[in-house]
Structures are given as C-alpha cells and as structure tokens.
Symmetry: C3
Subunit: 273 residues, 3 copies
C-alpha cells in the first residue's frame, strides 16, 4: 500500500511550492526531482499566493526565517488552505529562539496544516506553546526510544487530534500519527544525522507524497518517511572506504531517484500502534 503512494508521485509529477531555508534548499529541489515531483521556490510575499496556486502542495520550513519571509509563509499557507492544497510545516529550531517558536505557533494558528514534521523537541515546543499537552504528554522524553515509545505515540496522537494535522516525529524511531493511528517506523540509519538537511529533504518529499495522494495524508506521510529511511539504509550500504558524509548525502538522493514502489513496499519497516 505504501508503494502505491510513491507510484502516484511518479505518475502525477506534482509541482511543489517550497518556502524553505537557504542551507538545504538545493537538496530539497533535487530530492523532489528524484522522487518524481518538481520544485519551485518562491518566498516574496508579493508572489507566493500566485505560486502556491499553480502548485499541488506547499512546504513551509522555518530554518532561516526572517522578517520578510514570515508574512510570505502565512500568506502562502492561507492560500493553500483556500485551495485545499496540502500544506506541511517543518518547524526547524522551534524552541531555539523566541522568533522561531512564535512564528511556528502563529503559523499553527493561522494555517490548517496537513502535516507537521519535526524532531521530538520541536514538536514538544509546539505542543506546549499551543497549550495542548497535558498529563502524560508534558513528560514525554527528548528522544523516542523503545522504552518510551507508547508514551510518545500517545503524545503524537493527542497533538494530531488537537491540530487536525498528521504529526510526524522523526528520530531513531519515527512516529507518524493522526488522532487514532500511529505508524512506528524503524527504517533509517544513524549516519543520516551526519549530514545537514535530511529532515528538510524529508519535509519536501513528504509534501510531494501528500500532493499525489491527497485523500490519504497519514499513509502518504508514512510512505515518505519509510522511503527516506530506506534510502538512508541503501546509501549506507553503498559507502566506499573513503566516502564520508558528503558522499552519503548524494547517495541518499541517488537512492530516492532509483527507489521503486515495489522496493518501498517490501523495505518499509513499520508497525501500527
């Protein structure tokens, strides 16, 4: 079933609007092309509504936000909502500065997101800031492990219910949850944390999966997360003796380019909780 999500990306070739950081933007563009989508980047408030209207999905990443791009993020998000396009939020660094936290919270308030993808600490920051964590959730740890997985799943489902978005918490174990169902995903490789932007790339690619599978945001997100992790595994196997993190970066995108729906179907490692 997850393989079908990728097949749809390759068949529909969705155009994805990215308002994203300048650190990893080239990788985001290339991974979108690799998975079968097409990228466009535009962040001036005077054009983002038009650009979003041309596209099939919107990826908002606050990694190098500034006072000029924040209004563009909000305007584009609202326009995507009007058009019922999927919109993803990647709250990079939420919790690291007041500007990031407040911007992410403002975006949550003004835009209905289809998916929110971040690490556990970023997602916790949003959950606490929007007053949605109570009981068990307030205590969720800063790393998802086998030991605290049930607790983290409960937290993700609760935040999904609160926001109406699919919540994707990525780390050693990834959780992709709506209010009722969570995919716990064990694809990936620890070396992925040795390159910049695997998270940003995943957010861009997830938006493509959402755009090509608009009625199934939970499965589409799970498929993208499995695909990224699986490609991280395949790329790791390809590493030669002298290859380091920069070669690994390229091998992951190469693997996304080669990934077939069948491979994804067979290689996805997840359980539902």
């Amino acid at each position: 079933m997850l393989g079908k999500m990728l097949a749809n990306v390759r068949e529909k070739n969705p155009l994805i609007h990215n308002i994203t950081n300048y650190v990893t933007v080239n990788d985001c563009a290339n991974i979108l092309l690799a998975c079968g989508a097409s990228p466009i980047m535009a962040d001036d408030v005077d054009e983002v509504e038009e650009i979003t209207s041309l596209c099939a999905g919107l990826n908002i990443n606050i990694g190098t936000l500034n006072q000029h791009t924040i209004p563009a993020m909000i305007a584009a998000g609202k326009q995507a909502n009007r058009l019922h396009h999927p919109v993803l939020l990647d709250p990079v660094g939420a919790g690291a500065s007041t500007l990031r936290t407040n911007t992410a919270l403002q975006l949550l308030k003004e835009v209905q997101f289809t998916v929110i993808r971040g690490n556990i600490s970023e997602i916790k920051t949003l959950a606490m800031g929007s007053g949605s964590t109570k009981g068990v959730d307030a205590d969720v740890a800063d790393q998802v492990t086998e030991q605290n997985l049930d607790q983290a799943v409960a937290f993700a489902k609760e935040f999904a219910a609160k926001t109406g978005a699919v919540i994707a918490i990525t780390g050693a174990i990834d959780i992709v949850a709506d209010a009722k169902t969570a995919y716990c995903i064990r694809n990936g490789h620890p070396m992925m944390s040795k390159i910049t932007g695997t998270g940003c790339q995943l957010s861009a690619m997830t938006t493509a999966y959402l755009a090509a599978n608009p009625t199934e945001p939970l499965a589409a997100t799970a498929a993208a997360v499995c695909a990224m992790g699986l490609c991280g595994q395949k790329a790791q196997e390809r590493l030669g003796e002298q290859d380091g993190n920069l070669s690994y970066r390229g091998y992951i995108i190469d693997a996304v380019d080669h990934l077939t729906p069948d491979e994804l179907e067979r290689g996805a490692m997840y359980e539902l909780r």
Copy 2:
C-alpha cells in the same frame, strides 16, 4: 570556431558578477570555476554597481527574486550597460507570477541585455508581455520539436530583432539566435531535466563565454549551450548503476572542468537556420 570561445574563457579567466537565486547558486559558482572563470555573488543594492564594475560580465537570474534584490538587479544592469559589459537575463519562472513577469519586463525595458536565456515558455511570456509577438509567433508551441522548429526559429529571430539581444531558448532542441542567424543545437540529454539548475548553470557559464568573447555574442552563446549539452552527454555516459540525479549533477560540472576546446569543437552538434 566554438572551441576557441572556450579557449578564451580559460585564457582570460573573467570574473562574473551573479545576482542569482539561492537554490542553485553553489552550482553556478562551481561551474564558473570549472569552465575557467571566477564567480562573485552580490545582491545588495548598495554594492552591486561597484561589484559589477570590477567584473567582466553580469548574470541576472530572477529565480528567487524579492523586493530587495529587484532594485539591485536593475542598478547592476544599468551599470553594466554604462561600462559596456555583457549582461545576461535568465527570466526564471516568468509567467508563473505577476511579480516575475513584471520584473523581467521591467528589466528588459531598463537594461540592454546581451543575451536572454530561458525555456520557450519563459521567452514567450517576455515576448508577449513586451508586445513583440505577432503573426506566427503568438502561436509558437510550448515545446520546440523538429516539427515546429522553423516556427520557433522565426520567433527567436523576431524577438532578437526586437530586443537587440541574442535569444537562447533551451529545451530538447536549443535555439540560439540573433535577428539573422540561428544555431539549432542538438547536444544534451533528457536526464538534465532531472536535476535542478542546469538552466541557471548554463546562464552563469554563458556569461563567462560572453565576457571572454565580447565581440561575438552569438557564437559565444552557442558555444556555451553546446558545451553544457555535451557535458550532459558525457556525464550521462559516466553514470554507474547506483548513480542517480545527484551524482549526475556533479558529473556534469566535473565534465565542464575537463572539457577542452578541441572536444567542444568536435562534439558540438548544431546547424544554422
């Protein structure tokens, strides 16, 4: 003759000022170094005139334009005109938003370009917006094919006559035309569309060829387009089983680094129409 154009780049090592998008800027810098030129990027209106004055050519790419870089593009373009430096316009996404279309048209009005390089849809947008298309041209198709090549050549020549610029329309078949002569170029490989920024890179490299061959803008542009396509072919032959679009991106720039004037001379596939 086209080989000589490259030889001049390697001999003169021109410094090229780029006001370009943040998506593909690193690749633009590296391809400039690969072909024998040197890059400098500067986009603040307070410094662009000075920077352009130091350089031998100016590359204006509107891929991630914003309200702060638009005035810088205009100021730099005017300064390059004053100094009789070659100036190239890459109207990325013209037609996709009013801001892009209007900015490209404003640039056309205020700056005399040596070359305008884009895909057929971007160039048509400019031609229609500046009121230069009539008769056959208004009907030119959205892809250049063997069937409509004569029509597309006529359109390119007409727009070249109107603007006084060499028009480079890149696609499956590339057209490089002034008012009288068109190079129809069949170098390249379809996989080039699977990576972001081959167009941006070509624009940067073309500016280097222009700067090193200031009296022959038509041949210099044709040489750069042939060189890019030829390197796309060579890079494709180099691809191993696991290589995907990201490796391909690197192999193209590597091939530009290795390309000799002789290879270019022998490998350029074009006819004049």
Copy 3:
C-alpha cells in the same frame, strides 16, 4: 598537539552559529558535521542573540551581506563577546566594495574577534582601513611567497597585536599568527582554488576548533588550517580520471569526516616563525 585540538571537537561536539553567505552555506554545514561539530544558521536580527547564546561559537562571514544581515552580525557578535564565546570574522570580498570594507571595519570596531581569517588582500584591506599598517606592512605583497614570507609574518603579527585577534591569512602558504608567534603552514593543494567556498568552509571549521579549545585560539586555528589543507591533499590523491572540481569538493568534506587526530598530528606541515 594539533591532533588534540581535533580530538576536542569530536569529543565536545560544539554547536556553531553561522551568519554566512548563501553560496557556500550547505558546504559549511556539512563540514561542521564532518569535523564533529553541529551547525545552526540564523541571520534575522530578532533571533541572533538568542541563537548565539545557545551556541559555543560564532562564525560571521560577509560573503553575501545585505542591509538586513549586517545589524544581525553586529548584534550576534556583541552577544558572543558578552558571553565570552569565540567569534570569527571572514571578511569575504573586503576591498571589493565600499559596503564590504565598511561593514568589516565596523565589525572590527564593535566586536572583539577571536580570529580573523581571509586572503592577504582582504586582510590588508582591513589593516589599512583600521589604520594599523605602517612601515613594512603597507608594502606587503598581494601573494604570500617564500620570498616575502617574513614580511607577511611581520604584517600578520602586527595586525594581531592591533586587533587582539589571531590572524589567519590563507593562500599558497598559510600564516596563522598572534602578536608573538606565527605558524607558517604548507598543507593544501592548488586545486582547492578551483572550488567555491574552501575559505568559507575553513572559517566555519575553525570556529568549531575554537569552541572546543577555548583557551588556545592560536593552536586551534593552526590545527583547523592544517586539517583543511591536509584534507585538500588527501582529496586530491583520491581523484579519478573523470573527477573534476565538483567531485573534489565532496572528497574534501569526506576527508574531513575521516580525519583522525593522529593523522592530523602527523600530516600537519608547519614551522613557527
């Protein structure tokens, strides 16, 4: 002793705040990860003080400065000074425009830098602009060679005394000097000038070495410069027949990822003057 500097980076994993240009920012992030540090990029004036406070070091690079990032550079630099964090200045293009020269001079006036790293022409611009060059120094050549090395060393020491910063002048021979001691470093390979951003990457990596070795800025800087050069040598040896400048770029970062303290200790080629 220099090997120990790298060992400390790998052990302490310092978080480095970068306000840097958008041309080479991805490479800066990946080289920081490769050497054992972690990157964060943030350049909005509303958040840079908070971000710097979270970090162990600050890297300021003026490569694509603009009117919005200049105040952020100053604010972040002052905050780093308050917290006694190491701060590095990379005055990219100082001398190429009034905006760059004045910004670099203003930064020198308002921020106490731990290290200033640039090429000889950039450093000379700063030295002359801040009124610190007299006597022999005003005559220092535009390239450091064996013939003028003593003169360049004297210049570097004098500017170090004047600014209170370690001065790192990189080129065919690198000089890393405080007021009393200079490392003259002969690692590196000429091909490093064929890729964009080796200087920017070195500045980012040097900041990591400073953050992990806060009491030894001179040795830490020398270690980073030796490490970069050594990796440039190793990467050059790895080049295959078809590899060009883009592959070389990746191989350097890969080599940084693999570099061990022992290799650095043994491979560092320097003398003290």
